[in-house]
């Protein structure tokens, strides 16, 4: 299986005033296409930093970040933006939906960047909402939906442009256990049926159990943990 994500000797340091805070020290990681990987670790251990680097939202100080065969460290800001639109779907802890747009309007956002016709955009939005089980709530605004439903809209928005990679930052962090399980099952379904590679940051060991591979960050290094379920 080819690597969907490859990090080689990545170093990342943040500046806090005059102080430099090292987060990743020569970190390396290979994630084959089609894997569902969870990433756990204490706060400040670099989980979200890895997610941002893989998602092209941040640059490493040194090392290589190769995602889908693309060396992200060589791309400019504009090139990264274009690349993200076609290759990555983002799922956020607090959903990050536009409150004034309907569910369909939110899901359609990534498609506005394409040359698809209005009818084709609508068709794809319907398909995405159907996958997440919200076809009948297309016209509802986020404020009219529960947290779980809002996260489903967020997932539909992430998959509507059919990116091969989904990056999830604490996708169940704001949900109760039952709803969280539903969302995690949905992610499993996307991984298994739709062949999405998923990298999920979480603090929740039960959420991590839904992944096919478990990783933990500690002091800027990665530790492989045995999977409970797959």
């Amino acid at each position: 299986m080819s690597a969907a994500i490859s990090l080689r000797n990545v170093v990342k340091t943040y500046k806090r005033g005059k102080e430099s805070v090292p987060v990743l020290h020569g970190l390396s990681l290979e994630i084959p296409a089609g894997q569902f990987v969870s990433l756990m670790g204490p706060s400040g251990s670099g989980k979200t930093t890895i997610l941002n680097l893989v998602g092209g939202l941040d640059h490493a100080n040194s090392g290589e970040v190769i995602v889908g065969g693309e060396h992200l460290e060589t791309l400019s800001g504009g090139q990264l933006t274009k690349w993200r639109a076609g290759h990555v779907g983002f799922i956020f802890q607090f959903y990050n939906l536009m409150p004034m747009l309907s569910a369909a309007g939110n899901v359609e956002l990534p498609l506005l960047l394409t040359n698809l016709s209005k009818s084709e955009r609508q068709r794809r939005v319907e398909v995405a909402l159907e996958i997440v089980g919200l076809k009948d709530r297309a016209s509802h605004k986020p404020g009219e939906m529960s947290g779980g439903q809002q996260q489903r809209v967020g997932i539909a928005r992430a998959i509507v442009a059919d990116p091969p990679l989904l990056l999830c930052d604490e996708p169940t962090g704001d949900l109760d256990r039952a709803t969280a399980d539903e969302i995690l099952s949905l992610l499993q379904q996307l991984n298994r049926q739709h062949k999405k590679t998923i990298l999920m940051v979480t603090h929740d060991p039960k959420a991590a159990d839904h992944a096919s591979r478990r990783l933990e960050t500690d002091k800027g290094q990665l530790i492989e943990r045995a999977s409970v379920t797959a």
Binding site: T48, N52, G55, L57, D58, G77, G78, T81, K82, R84, A85, G86, F90, F92, N96, M98, P99, M100, L101, G105, L109, P110, L112, L113, K118, R121, R157
Partner: protein
């Protein structure tokens, strides 16, 4: 077009704020339209003023003996003199003010550019109670040729003490550009013969036409000098000066108008810039999300510019529209023929309004756009 719902939803996210902003922009552009439209009127009036004519009238107010007309006509350089007076009154109710200018037979020769044919002038010569009514006034009072109009004029009583002046509408004539409320012209002879004996053979003012336009000012001074020691000293003013709104005020009225319009624009600029900055600040994480899912810097900035431009352009359109309505309605409440200026909504007023609205939108959006361009997505998403 596909981004319109996104921009519209952003604007209507806070409907009260959006509506109040729109109303403020609209009112500012109404003021803008009226002031710049007034300047357009001043420019038009000034353009139409002739440099070969002089107004002459009693220096200390009141009427002037008509006999002076002959004496002025005999002065070197004077080509012709006409006289006119007026009947100020109202129709049925003092609120319905009417102002009939009573013209002698020389007026058509001294003011030949007026869009009134010799045949139409002849109608009020043939019928002393005849009246020429401009289209604007005919529309206002629902008059047509053949109608009879009786005006109450307490300030111009007749020989029998009656304030009623009856006129026959002889013809509906074209409007004169600078008479923004239209006009009503009657026969001076009718007025002169009908009023009290003490006022007969007197007129309100002379219109003097000179042979050489380069000597207009000189002749105006000569007229003043000639009658300085007479029982009725005269004052004169050339038509060019009379039609120049700034003359004698010691300031440039057009410039003051522009300053008022500019102040309105600054008010709108502060309002929209502050509103937009606040809106962008509130939605910083949403813009970060848009950039995360693939919206480019220029795309996000374009959304912000559109968010500024839509209320500005809509407000400008509505404001100028309201100014046009006010300009059209104003003549209904003003008596005709007094030359009170009414704003003119020329194409240039609309063009300037559009340009100013676009500029206000551009400046308002500039700082928020710069902030979005410099946004660090990861930091913005983390809420730090």
């Amino acid at each position: 077009m596909k981004y319109v719902p996104l921009v519209w939803a952003a604007i209507m996210r806070k409907p009260t704020r959006a509506v109040l902003t729109l109303l403020s922009v609209m009112l500012a552009f109404t003021l803008f339209g009226l002031t710049i439209g007034m300047n357009a009127t001043f420019a038009k009036v000034q353009e139409e003023a002739r440099d070969d004519r002089i107004f002459a009238f009693a220096r200390f107010g009141g009427l002037v003996p008509i006999a002076l007309e002959r004496q002025i006509e005999g002065m070197p350089g004077v080509a012709m003199v006409a006289s006119s007076s007026f009947v100020p009154g109202y129709l049925h109710d003092p609120k319905n003010r009417i102002f009939v200018q009573m013209m002698d037979e020389n007026i058509p020769k001294v003011l030949p550019e007026w869009p009134i044919t010799p045949q139409q002038w002849q109608l009020i010569r043939d019928d002393r109670q005849g009246m020429l009514v401009s289209k604007m006034q005919a529309d206002r009072w629902h008059l047509k040729a053949g109608d009879t109009l009786t005006i109450a004029a307490p300030a111009a009583r007749k020989l029998d003490g009656s304030p009623s002046w009856t006129f026959h509408v002889a013809a509906i004539t074209s409007d004169i550009n600078y008479m923004s409320q239209g006009y009503m012209f009657g026969n001076f002879d009718y007025m002169d013969k009908a009023r009290t004996l003490s006022d007969q053979s007197k007129t309100g003012q002379f219109r003097v036409k000179v042979s050489d336009p380069s000597k207009t000012a000189e002749i105006a001074a000569q007229i003043v000098s000639k009658f300085a020691n007479s029982p009725t000293p005269l004052e004169t003013i050339t038509e060019k000066v009379a039609f120049d709104v700034s003359a004698g005020t010691g300031m440039d009225i057009a410039s003051v108008d522009r300053d008022v319009a500019l102040a309105g624009m600054f008010m709108v600029l502060f309002l929209t810039a502050n509103g937009l900055a606040q809106a962008v600040r509130e939605r910083f994480a949403e813009f970060a999300t848009l950039k995360t899912i693939g919206f480019s810097d220029s795309g996000v900035i374009a959304l912000v510019f559109a968010e500024a431009a839509i209320p500005c352009l809509m407000g400008a359109g509505l404001g100028i529209g309201l100014a046009s309505i006010v300009s059209n309605v104003m003549p209904r409440f003003l008596p005709p023929g007094q030359g009170l200026p009414i704003p003119t909504m020329t194409i240039m007023v609309f063009v300037w309004a559009g340009l100013c609205a676009a500029l206000v939108a551009f400046i308002s959006a500039a700082l928020p756009a710069l902030r979005l361009k410099q946004m660090d997505i990861a930091t913005a998403l983390s809420g730090r």
